[in-house]
Amino acid sequence: MSSKTTENVISEIKRSWIEKLAISGKRVDNRGPEDFRPIKVVKGFVEKAEGSALVSMGRTTVLVGVKVEIGAPFPDTPDKGVIITNAELIPLAAPTFEPGPPGEEGIELARVVDRGIRESEMIDLGELVIEEGEKVWIVYIDIDVLNYEGNLFDASSLAAVAALMNAKIPYSKHDMGEDRPLPIKHVPVSVTWAKIGSAIMVDPSYDEESIMSARLTVVTDEEGNVRAMQKGGEGSFTLDEVKKIIKKSAELGSRIRKQYLEVG
């Protein structure tokens, strides 16, 4: 339950300060253009969910719960399980988030997270069939944004991927044998960049997002292949910028994968 954010309001002084720093490759919180804020991943925060992860990126906090239930497959894919992703920008997280059904921002967020997971074939959907055409496992990925301080895309994506890796298929609950982990094939990582003036920086903070002209999210897999992208904002990127962002996203993505998503 949540809805759109109205425009972020930021003072002129702050705006020009961020812009001025950006020209010389600096940021208000002393990060370099390619530095993420500190990341923390806590798996299994919600014991009642089949999988969950609480992720903070700086002070942005996102909780993802994964529920795995039995249901019918889609008629056009009788031999595949189902993934459903939903994001709630709950009104606790920011003064501009309002109660109500998801607005365009929440829907975009859910769809971009979903795309990274789906297109990277993170989960082997063929393995989620119980009875072809009749019964399959449905994997619900519910994103609850608890505190909004910028870059919801990467925080939500990381939380969703970590929660899926932490999730069990509840066979025992349905008297079907022992619980098993989800069939994970790939591990996608999302990396988001903001453009401020001519400067480009990763993992934008709330203030940086408030003044950025454009945003680009790149999801890569463990081989560095691009699996999903989403550009946002009214501004634009040049071809060179896009190429450089993709290359850097794969590098940073691989580092995040190693540090926070390594199985074991």
């Binding site: 919600v46 903070s56 906090t61 529920k67 239930e69 009104p91 606790l92």
Partner: protein, 250 residues
């Protein structure tokens, strides 16, 4: 449903507690950066987050009251907070709970000090395990205090119930589902006012008398936990100006 034994011969409850024993409760105040006040509460397996925004401009504007602040609490359960996934959005239960929680908080807040504004209280149940309305209210009241909103006192509460004809405090999930009665109550300790009271099940008048006394004694323990969490928050803030508690470390 097969018979579930909720109390053994020694008077121990299904989770091993004595009749008047509470589940472990932990609380942190000041856990969110954008809200004016916030609190996180772990009560047994319940995990509850509350945030306060305001006093701020009323939206939609026609709800504005020239005499007092409009205090609105919204109780919401995360989809993954319960055994079977809950569809997002309000259902009839959460709408009712939002109403009784709002009314309980209004009784404590000096709403007349902030005419034409709104004070928005948001309660998010991250994990539910019986007693979430009281847990939500307790967290919300601490979040209001954290936001610096003037109140008569904190609002605190407790649930009392009955299993195997014995009165018990702070029901767990099984006792809530299969017990004989369930009575949530919230009070303003300083004035003794009862500001939330619900009951379902079956109790004699004599049992109700004892249940209420028991519940209030239990609620006073929760009150101490709320006060301690607030104190801890502000002691910490003196040393670390931008301190925000981490809910994963509770």
């Amino acid at each position: 449903m097969e018979e579930i034994k909720l109390m053994d011969e020694e008077g121990r409850r299904i989770d091993g507690r004595r009749p008047d024993e509470l589940r472990p409760i932990k609380m942190k105040v000041g856990v969110l950066t954008r809200a004016d006040g916030s609190a996180y509460l772990q009560w047994g397996k319940n995990k509850v987050l509350a945030a306060v925004y305001g006093p701020r401009e009323v939206f939609p504007k026609h709800l504005q009251d020239p005499e007092r602040a409009l205090l609105r609490a919204r109780y919401n359960m995360a989809s993954f907070s319960v055994e079977e996934r809950k569809r997002p959005g309000p259902d009839r239960r959460s709408i009712e709970l939002s109403k009784v929680i709002s009314e309980a908080l209004r009784a404590a807040v000096f709403v007349e000090q902030f005419p034409k504004t709104s004070i928005d209280v948001f309660i998010e149940i991250l994990q539910a395990d019986a007693g979430t309305r009281i847990a939500g209210l307790v967290a919300a009241s601490a979040a209001l205090a954290d936001a610096g909103i003037p109140m008569k006192d904190l609002v605190t509460g407790m649930t009392v119930g009955k299993v195997e004809d014995t009165l018990i405090l702070d029901l767990c999930k099984e006792e809530d589902n299969y017990g004989q009665a369930d009575l949530p109550i919230a009070i303003i300790p300083r004035t003794g006012e009862i500001v939330l009271l619900q009951m379902d099940g079956h109790m004699t008048q004599e049992e109700i008398d004892r249940a209420l006394d028991m519940a209030i004694r239990g609620a006073m323990k929760v009150y101490e936990i709320q006060k301690r969490a607030l104190l801890e928050r502000y002691e910490r803030l003196v040393r670390e100006k931008e301190y925000i508690a981490d809910i994963s470390e509770v």
